[in-house]
Assembly symmetry: C2
């Protein structure tokens, strides 16, 4: 049905009416008291969301731009960095690090499996010469629905002394990312995920230790030079023209998040994740990631001999106006992904599970008992 599409992809995620309306207001000048008041408010909200007293800076870019800012500000060409890759985004950070001439020590794990913190511990402990300058980890690997054990890995990185650089694009606002408590140095994210906003803004949290590394980092930078952002942020300004309307949206979204509260947000995402997984299992569809490493952003589901995942996606899209995500690269045609982050409610998951169940049956899949998927999801939702 025209104009009726419901987003259940891991980003962009649905945007609340309040946020859309805020975004649709007339643009204002960015060197005004009115804009600075928004910038100030937004900075406080971002620190709250990141659970940090350190800096959280905003760039006009996608999440990949935020990750680039997270690398080029703190490293020099030739620096040895451990970059982990257990999905499409990990792979992207490997490519990015190589593009900037870093000496990449890749930790590669099969897609769908979580990173093993022990691999990091061993590499870091073996590095008695302290040649490793940074460790790059994708917290929630959106391509596979795997949540990596960032806290444990970060502990090992902290003991070693390297910088902990994190892609938290689909974990921030969906799972706890307590930047200060976990000792994360650089945490990058984007607006179109847990933030409940359209894409276009990137965020980078920066620790004191990272700012020290900045002083000796030699990679060239200008647009993403975070020192200019920090200097301006101290005056509630930005070095370059900010996407003013996206700031309106960000302010409205952070207000909604603060009204809900961090604990409630995380509990909701965890509940939606468990309900989605219970639903899929009751329908008889295999889950790609284990319970222990399940991302709260998206659930990846495998097809079966009978059920073609791309046919299922198309059926759900055309019959029920729900957008699901497919698999990427080597996972194309093997999995589909259900997004349940950001502005996602119990109703959304119930709806999504019901539609997937109906579509699976229509396409010849025999669930153990029709309606079992919705029943199982509903039981988790409570």
């Amino acid at each position: 049905m025209d104009n009726k599409m419901m987003l259940m992809i891991p980003g962009p995620t649905p945007v609340p009416e309040k946020v859309l309306q805020a975004m649709g207001k007339h643009t204002i000048g960015h060197r005004t008291a009115a804009f600075s008041a928004i910038a100030k408010d937004v900075t406080a909200g971002l620190k709250w969301l990141h659970q940090t007293t350190g800096d959280v800076l905003v760039v006009a870019a996608s999440g990949t731009g935020a990750m680039e800012a997270g690398m080029v500000n703190f490293l020099s060409a030739g620096d040895r960095v451990i970059v982990s890759d257990n999905g499409k985004f990990g792979e992207r950070w490997v490519d990015m690090a190589r593009a900037f001439g870093l000496d990449v020590d890749e930790i590669k794990v099969d897609w769908g499996k979580p990173l093993n913190p022990e691999t990091f511990r061993e590499k870091l402990e073996a590095d008695t010469e302290k040649t490793i300058k940074a460790v790059v980890v994708t917290h929630s690997e959106t391509s596979t629905g795997v949540l990596n054990d960032l806290q444990t890995i970060s502990g090992y990185v902290k003991s070693h002394g390297a910088l902990m650089i994190v892609d938290a694009v689909t974990s921030l606002g969906a799972s706890p990312v307590p930047v200060d408590e976990w000792g994360l140095d650089v945490v990058c994210s984007g607006s179109q995920k847990g933030y409940m906003m359209p894409p276009g803004l990137g965020f980078i949290a920066v620790s004191q230790k990272a700012w020290q590394a900045y002083e000796t980092a030699k990679l060239p930078k200008f647009y993403f030079d975070l020192k200019a952002y920090r200097k301006n942020a101290a005056k509630d300004l930005t070095p370059f023209t900010p996407p003013v309307n996206l700031y309106f949206a960000l302010q409205a979204a952070l207000e909604m998040m603060q009204a809900e509260g961090l604990e409630s947000i995380f509990a909701r995402h965890e509940r939606l994740t468990r309900a989605t997984r219970a639903g899929m299992q009751a329908i008889g569809l295999p889950l790609f990631a284990s319970d222990e490493s399940a991302s709260t952003a998206a659930t990846a589901v495998l097809g079966t001999d009978v059920l073609d995942v791309e046919k299922l996606r198309k059926f759900v899209e055309h019959k029920f106006d729900i957008a699901l995500a497919g698999g990427q690269d080597s996972l194309k045609g093997k999995i589909f992904r259900i997004g349940h982050l950001g502005f996602a409610s119990d109703r959304d998951v119930l709806t999504g599970v019901a539609a997937i169940e109906a579509a699976a049956i229509a396409l010849g899949h025999q669930p153990p008992s029709p309606g079992a998927g919705v029943a199982a999801a509903a039981q988790v939702l409570g």
Copy 2:
């Protein structure tokens, strides 16, 4: 009056209701037929606006990000580049080029004066060894209201063989920038100016010659690697999540521009510029740029012994709810700037001139004859 501010700064510029409403629609997935249809439409519109059959690529960034993309894709560290500086933005490109390790040959001219094409000709003709790889020119210098003679400079650059890299941030959509006809190789702009959109998108037109330079350019890049954008644009996709809602806005804005027509758009901007200048002169306020080098984006006006420009700006803002821009850096307190680009009409200029005249009188300035400013502007507007 609350919520009543009218933007007469050189960016962000006023956004039409149609564009705001398009932007406020629900976000859609960026890997869908619906988004690709928009991307396709937008690409065609951008080529029309740039008067080119070559590529025009879109990045999620401000105009400065677009300029960075325009440099890092086509040059290598140590490359000799001529960078012109007759205002704050020229100065920024000098800083940017140095940040990327380019060998900067600066052509510096007093702020408020236009670049002299002969200086370029001499430098380029003297370079028989062809060590100059690129020439960087700010077409419309927003900080001073000066339009540089890009066409003549580009002719000299073309004869030499270097790349012509242009900041057209406040000229595109306000003055003719016929990319193919003038032989411009890289043309960068941002959405919050002539495009009548909020900030957040950057645009880069790339010639065949520039793509050849890309093949040997060694500056590191990833987020701004334009080859990835070109490859995806060929399939109406983007390499990274695009700011979907800003694409909605861009589509609506380009549609409005195409309905108006390029000739009408340029004639309107030229008329508004002349009317603004006639109004200021009739009030007895000195213009900063000459008639020959007047930018169609903004008019810079000097204060007098009696009239403090910052007092004038504040008066106009508080009494008449019109935002004017001040001077930047060394021009702070010396000039104020009236923006008349993008979604600016005859009424806007009439209103702006009337408000400035009233404010000037209230602050003790004696115009030759009260009301003369509005009368002079109206006469030009016809």
